[in-house]
């Protein structure tokens, strides 16, 4: 199985990372060599194996329904690239 340029462009779109032709070709080469090495897993039969998501053998702990956070708008907005005291700002979105 090999990853073609069309696939690279599709996943770059999904990842929101722009790629030009040259970068796409480089990525295709890299990914193909990595996946060649990953394909080793196909040797294994895992039909009756439960997938393991987390090694933490415990269940989800609950938090109580309390409001603990104060208004920290200044802190939240402080690091944002566009200056606006109340909002995060992004290029106009047309729906």
């Amino acid at each position: 199985m090999s990853i073609d340029l069309k696939t690279i462009k599709h996943i770059s779109k999904l990842s929101r990372i722009s790629v030009d032709e040259k970068k796409a070709e480089k990525l295709a080469g890299d990914l193909n060599s990595i996946f060649k090495f990953i394909e080793k897993l196909n040797e294994l039969n895992t039909d009756n194996v439960e997938p393991l998501t987390s090694v933490a053998e415990t269940t989800l702990k609950f938090r109580s329904d309390e409001v603990k956070n104060q208004n920290i708008r200044e802190q939240i907005i402080k690091n944002s690239p566009e200056d606006n005291e109340d909002f995060f700002v992004v290029p106009k979105v047309v729906e």
Partner: protein, 485 residues
Amino acid sequence: MSDITSQSLTSLVKNIKEKNLSSEEVTKAFVDRSEKSKELNSYITEDFSNAIDKSKKFDEKPNLDLKLPGVPMAVKDLFCTKDIRTTAGSKILENFVPTYESTVTQNIWNEGAILLGKLNCDEFAMGSSNETSFYGNVQNPIDKGLVPGGSSGGSAAAVSGQLTPITIGTDTGGSIRQPASFTGTVGLKPTYGSCSRYGIVAFASSLDQAGPMSQNVEDCALLQEVISTYDNKDSTSIDFKRGQYSKDLTKDIKGKKIGIPKEYRVEGMPKEIEELWKKGIEYAKDCGAEIIDISLPNTSYALPTYYIVAPAEASSNLARYDGVKYGFRAKGENLTDMYEKTRSEGFGAEVQRRIMIGTYVLSSGYYDAYYLKAQKVRKLIKNDFDEAYKKVDAILTPSTPSSAFKIGEKKNDPVSMYLNDIFTVPVNLAGLPAISIPAGLDATGYPLGLQIIGKAFQEQEILNLAYAMEDKISFKNKITDWWIK
């Protein structure tokens, strides 16, 4: 001054407690040596003048009951530090200043330590040589032009080069143990859930774990005791009874059963690694341990599994770096254009590569073949360890398949770079604790490490084994200060 920076953490703590040294003296010594060590490029962000101010303040009213009283310490730049820039080695966070502190670093400051600065690392901890950092390569203090390993390369170099008495790194697939091994230092990756992930820039959530990197096992035990706490801000933090690792440290390991997994004898492994391992077995025997041959049959599948699981999680964890809330933003004609430019200019090549791998293995039509398959194999790998631990208390392996390599040597060959983590990755997949200790030198005189893997939550056990073996090995790191003019 140099006799201050060459002291172990334990001895510095003792000297401060006994008032032989002030926090200021110690802090100034490390600041001074750090200033002279720019060529190593260990630091991304220095906080030296603040550190000295803090040390003076500490000395005015010293609380000597603390575990790290007035001890200066630099930390990996993956830990968010309040009011101190945190970059994760990436351009995308070049100007990011957290308003909050990670739990692990908070625990350290709570015991009296003082931040020296933030240490270089591979971008988002993705790398095994510190070459993916936006802030440049780190030199291994062992030799010029040598990688310190990664991703905690800056941390390893800083400890080995004595720019900090001790440090913390993070380990997702070997990022503490491999650089420790490359720099002749000690590195512990604790059990998953032992140290809180709160405030640590995430790479792969199900694998990431913070841990100490130190000059010796005793220091390592002391810092582990400080950083490992149950944290209700991290849903994967585990509430187990944590030991007093430094207090309970013992060299008495008589009768402990140590497993030697035959699958770690990989093809093409350098002879000196093989030799080192054999020597390690002898040392363990000398300490009174019993050696038992074991099998971890799915070992060879660990690395392919890791290169599905870690990128998959990373592709999602790194989606938040989109130029909207914080960090770097490129100009774009519209929202999508802004995202794509921000992320392709803000992330380096290796990070982009892993995001792509992760996106691909999760994408529609491939999920079952890759991600689900990897999760199943992960289960098999964990089962291997569970099975082995019915017979043994710990497992001894080499830490890495080679000693440190030259800067640039593997940069353009991702797969050969990934193979560096072949012995460390299975441990992360199974969530186990493991420690790397320096155990010898290769023909060139570069350090080599041995890895001791423990049962979950049995940090004390592997610290004790490492402590006992360290004594027998009596390794001396050869630091020539070549970078200091």
